[in-house]
């Protein structure tokens, strides 16, 4: 019989000023060697559950917990740091969890706090960095790392604590497909060989299903289903809709004039690094185009150029028939919407309705129209019931939907989205992508970057592949099967586990 690691019994958990409990009726036993993946709709309580296990709720988040959480037989702990060495926790945003500037120092921070011997710390740092595949970055400055690399540093730091129980909140959200495969492979191996216990919130990658032992589905603050990976896969397959793009292509819709054109475009950053090089690319009105590529291949730079946010250092950029320079880029701003990876960079108003209204005021929409358009946009993204709530009280997925709401209301003809589903789970990702798809159906042009190849396959009608800052492939998604091998060679494996 397996050793019991944690027993979670929660009758209810209330946050102040909220009538509905954030968590309710949860009875969960986690045994040694379990690999549990949690999935569910936005604000279903997944992250709150992990926070409860760590003790951050109620210490960091004011709340009233009715229930007991027992970790390794102990239900009472005086401080959260008592859990170090027992629980390792990794949150979504890597940069906020990195304490020191140097990769080595940061990974050594946890074992250093446990006052281990220097030799032991050194050996743990080397071992953990190797395990997450970034031992070659051991003496790098964390500022030089990509999002995916930073995520691996945090994971190495958590593993270096030597705790047998890991809680991970979407640990591969910022990684490219090859990176995800490596990380899940390593975690699965640890779980199997070293009896490590893992409880993680699933991102939209299905890769974790190869290693998970149990899948928990959450909704409305409670666990509604406990499935084996096989059962969950069956369920996913039966729920899987046919690729939406195919439906559209059948309708025989033709695309209009070219709205963005890049000729021989190169962008160099001030420090001399190349963002993208010698790009020839155009996008026609009504297209739904995906840009894919590994971390650091130049996708975001290209998207920012198409949006007019940065101007090429070489070559020509034409948007809506106008050659873009410093002066003209302000004029085209109203026609283009940019959806950033992180909605928190934009949101600042005190209610959802004011946030959307602000987007409309910038564009000179009259006050009479603002009210109608705001309600309309909030209804479309399913947030109308929260229209007077503070955006910071929403979950990350809901805040991303709010950012989409702002774009919906703004009525831009070209929408550029930089990894719009990053940090979201499968359900939330579908919601976001379906909204973009609907916008496209209504004549808007969509250009999106994604690491999620199943999403690209499902929605995009044209796929642009970037590698080493250049476009190496530009093809209709119907030709994707002809290039699977070449794409796999550069770390883009389109073979979805669901297929």
């Amino acid at each position: 019989m397996s050793l019991e690691i944690a027993r979670i019994h929660i009758n209810s958990l209330y946050f102040p000023d909220q009538s509905k409990p954030a968590l309710k009726n949860i009875n969960l036993v986690i045994n040694e060697g379990d690999f549990i993946a949690i999935t569910g709709s936005p604000a279903s309580g997944k992250s709150v559950l992990l926070h409860c296990i760590t003790g951050a709720v109620p210490k960091y988040y004011d709340s009233k917990l009715n229930g007991t959480i027992t970790i390794r037989g102990l239900s009472e702990r005086t401080s959260i740091s008592d859990n170090s060495g027992i629980i390792g926790y990794m949150m979504q945003e890597p940069q906020s969890q990195i304490v020191y500037e140097d990769v080595y120092d940061d990974v050594a921070f946890g074992p250093g706090n446990l006052c281990l011997e220097k030799n032991e710390i050194d050996s743990r740092v080397h071992k953990c960095l190797k395990l997450v595949g970034i031992d070659y970055l051991i003496h790098n400055n964390v500022k030089e790392l990509s999002g995916g690399q930073a995520q691996r540093v945090v994971l190495a730091g958590v593993l270096a604590l030597g705790s047998g129980f890991l809680l991970l909140d979407q640990p591969t959200a910022e990684l490219d497909p090859a990176g995800r495969k490596d990380i899940y492979g390593a975690l699965g191996e640890l779980c199997h060989d070293k009896k490590l216990t893992i409880c993680m919130i699933m991102d939209k990658s299905h890769e974790v299903l190869r290693y998970a032992t149990r899948i928990l589905e959450m909704d409305n603050g409670t666990i509604i289903n406990e499935l084996s990976p096989k059962e969950y896969l069956e369920k996913l397959k039966s729920n899987k809709q046919p690729p939406r793009i195919k439906k559209r292509m059948k309708s025989g819709e033709l695309h209009g004039e070219t709205i963005a054109e890049l000729k021989g475009v190169t962008y160099r950053y001030k420090n001399g690094n190349i963002g993208c090089e010698n790009i020839d690319f155009s996008i026609k009105n009504g297209e739904f185009v995906a840009i894919v590529g590994t971390n650091g291949s130049g996708k975001t730079t290209l998207a920012k150029i198409v949006d007019g946010l940065i101007l090429p250092t070489e070559g020509e950029l034409r948007l809506f028939g106008t050659t873009i320079c410093k002066k003209s880029k302000i004029k085209i701003r109203n026609d283009i919407g940019f959806l950033f990876q992180n909605p928190d960079n934009q949101i600042f108003n005190d209610t959802l309705k004011n946030e959307i209204a602000f987007s409309l005021r910038i564009k000179g929409v009259t006050e009479d129209e603002i009210s109608t358009k705001t309600d309309d946009a909030l209804k479309k993204v399913g947030l109308i019931e929260y229209k007077d709530a503070h955006p910071q009280k929403l979950s990350r997925g809901q805040r991303q939907l709010l950012a989409i709401g702002c774009i919906l209301a703004s009525d831009c003809s070209l929408i550029v989205a930089d990894e719009p589903t990053s940090g979201l789970d499968e359900f939330q990702s579908s919601l976001v992508m379906d909204h973009l798809f609907d916008l496209n159906q209504n004549g808007k042009t969509i250009l999106f970057i994604s690491h999620d190849l199943s999403i690209v396959r499902h929605y995009a009608e044209r796929i642009v592949v970037m590698h080493n800052h250049c476009i190496i492939l530009d093809m209709p998604s119907s030709s994707l099967n002809d290039y699977l091998l070449e794409l796999k060679e550069i770390g883009l494996d389109f073979e979805d586990i669901l297929e």
Binding site: L114, H139, K143
Partner: protein, 250 residues
């Protein structure tokens, strides 16, 4: 735009010097600039900072972003001295305003002194890594927990600056005009509030992450690095201490 020059860990010369020596250098330069009233002497003391930076293979362009701030301080000092200085003879008089001939030399002294203090502090921060700063503070008997906070401040200052840049870009992409100074003032809430929310979220996540990594579990911490004064550090510290003593005695 980064206000603070970044610490370059690949600079072996900088790594070689003990942070206590770097701190003493900063103190010496500031001290000398306070003890001198001669503008030429003060300029020489000021020049010690860029010269030492060049010798330590630091880029002088690192300091360029602080020039507008120093220009604002300089203009304030000139105006204050013109209005309120009462030393020397009256060289110009208009209505109730009397300008004395010592106003501008005194303003110049103030400007050079202020510039020396700012640049010396910036140089010290750019020569000291967060972990070195922590170890330095602990050498001065600051408890480990509080010394870690100083290291965190150094680590997160450039991160918050970068974050500010991303927020500016996001709001521009949204259509907010942030070009002229007036635009920037008008758009202050749309830029500062997301930064505030982000910073609050970050500080909570950082605190939680640190606690779960054992921060505060024990009063001590095993550091992989320790501070050791080498012969060069000892020699230069002696010279700097002597120069301070000589200035005090004379």
């Amino acid at each position: 735009m980064s206000l603070m020059p970044e610490y370059d860990k690949n600079n072996t010369l900088v790594e070689f010097i003990d942070p206590r020596t770097k701190a003493l250098w900063m103190i010496t330069v500031i001290f000398l600039s306070f003890f001198s009233d001669n503008i030429l002497e003060m300029i020489v003391i000021f020049l010690l900072i860029p010269i030492s930076s060049v010798l330590l293979k630091q880029k002088l362009s690192n300091y360029k972003n602080v020039v507008p701030i120093l220009a604002i301080i300089a203009s304030q000092l000139i105006v204050l001295q013109i209005l309120f200085c009462r030393q020397g003879e009256i060289s110009y008089s208009w209505w109730i305003i009397n300008i004395y001939d010592q106003a501008l030399p005194l303003a110049a002294v103030g400007i050079v002194r202020a510039s020396t203090i700012v640049l010396a502090c910036m140089q010290f921060l750019s020569l000291t890594s967060p972990i070195d700063m922590q170890l330095l503070l602990m050498k001065f008997k600051i408890p480990y927990k509080y010394a870690t906070l100083a290291a965190l401040g150094l680590r997160f200052m450039p991160v918050i600056e970068d974050e500010f840049g991303v927020i500016l870009e996001s709001q521009r992409a949204r259509g907010i005009k942030i070009e002229s100074v007036w635009d920037k003032i008008r758009s202050l809430p749309s830029v500062s509030l997301p930064l505030l929310y982000r910073s609050m979220r970050w500080s909570r996540d950082t605190a939680l992450s640190m606690e779960l990594r054992g921060f505060g579990k024990y009063p001590n911490h095993t550091f992989m690095k320790s501070l050791n004064l080498n012969l060069w550090d000892i020699l230069s510290s002696v010279i700097m201490t002597f120069s301070i003593l000589i200035v005090i005695i004379l």
